[in-house]
């Protein structure tokens, strides 16, 4: 039986951009990123693609969601709706 070859780290940019690797694999790829300008540049471009995937799913959040966040940010208690 053929032993599966360990993939090169730079093939992981896509899976990393999709948050599809985690734990030790994520940490390992992040260490690789720190010393691989090609992967860093590729990741930046792939994240523009994933951002468009997010944009395509965009929908108006419930109105009070933003109110709650802004209230939390400014340190004011959230006013209860009556």
């Amino acid at each position: 039986m053929r032993t599966p070859r360990r993939p090169e780290p730079h093939t992981l940019a896509g899976a990393y951009a999709l948050d599809a690797i985690d734990g030790p694999d994520r940490a390992r790829f992040e260490r690789h990123l720190a010393r691989c300008p090609a992967c860093t540049a590729e990741l930046r471009e792939l994240r523009e693609a994933t951002a468009r995937l997010a944009g395509a799913a965009a929908a108006d959040p419930p109105a009070d969601l933003i109110e709650h966040v802004v209230a939390a940010w400014s340190g004011r208690p959230t006013r209860l709706r009556t």
Partner: protein, 188 residues
């Protein structure tokens, strides 16, 4: 193209706002929430699904945007990519803490359907039709690998199980799929 120029202008606005948030500008933070809120809410809802947890995660994301604003570097990618990267990471971390594969596998069959529903239910947004068309230009394995991971929050290992494909193949398809998507979206 008018559409692309508008998207870039909007992103330039968002970049300026995030830089202002880093300086503690409260009005700018409200504007960031208003402008990036729909994309954050959309991606978090797609991954998390539960309405209450979706709201919690959205709040965490927007507050993280505020806390991390000083680390945003406008020269290194769009503001939307910066914000949605935070949102997606938070969303997948939440569902992975909550669910095990066996449970999530059950949901897999209807995930593609769920995405279509989400996409169709939303009123037509600037970029949506173009993204859908470009997703359609991917091979089916590329598209499934990308959408299961992005909208479903699945890991490489889970996607490999769901598609009955080797993990190495799934990693390659994810990368190839995103490169093709990037090329399609970037083309005028």
């Amino acid at each position: 193209m008018v559409r692309a120029a508008t998207g870039q202008t909007r992103d330039a606005d968002l970049q300026t706002l995030i830089v202002a948030v880093a300086r503690g500008d409260q009005a700018a933070f409200k504007a960031v929430c208003a402008q990036a809120g729909p994309a954050v809410f959309g991606v978090v809802r797609a991954v998390v699904r539960d309405p209450c947890q979706t709201e919690e995660v959205c709040q965490e994301v927007l507050l993280e945007v505020w806390r991390a604003a000083s680390r945003f570097e406008p020269g290194k990618g769009s503001a939307l990519a910066w914000v949605t990267t935070i949102a997606h990471r938070r969303a997948v971390d939440r569902v992975r803490a909550e669910h095990r594969l066996a449970e999530r596998q059950v949901r897999a069959a209807w995930h593609q359907v769920a995405y279509d529903e989400v996409a169709e239910a939303v009123e037509a947004r600037l970029d949506q039709e173009r993204v859908r068309r470009c997703l359609g230009s991917l091979t089916s394995v590329q598209r499934e690998s990308v959408t299961l991971a992005y909208y479903g929050g699945y890991t490489v290992r889970e996607v490999a199980t769901l598609l009955a494909a080797p993990e190495g193949t799934v990693k390659t398809r994810m990368r190839d799929g995103l490169i093709r998507l990037r090329d399609c979206l970037g083309a005028r």
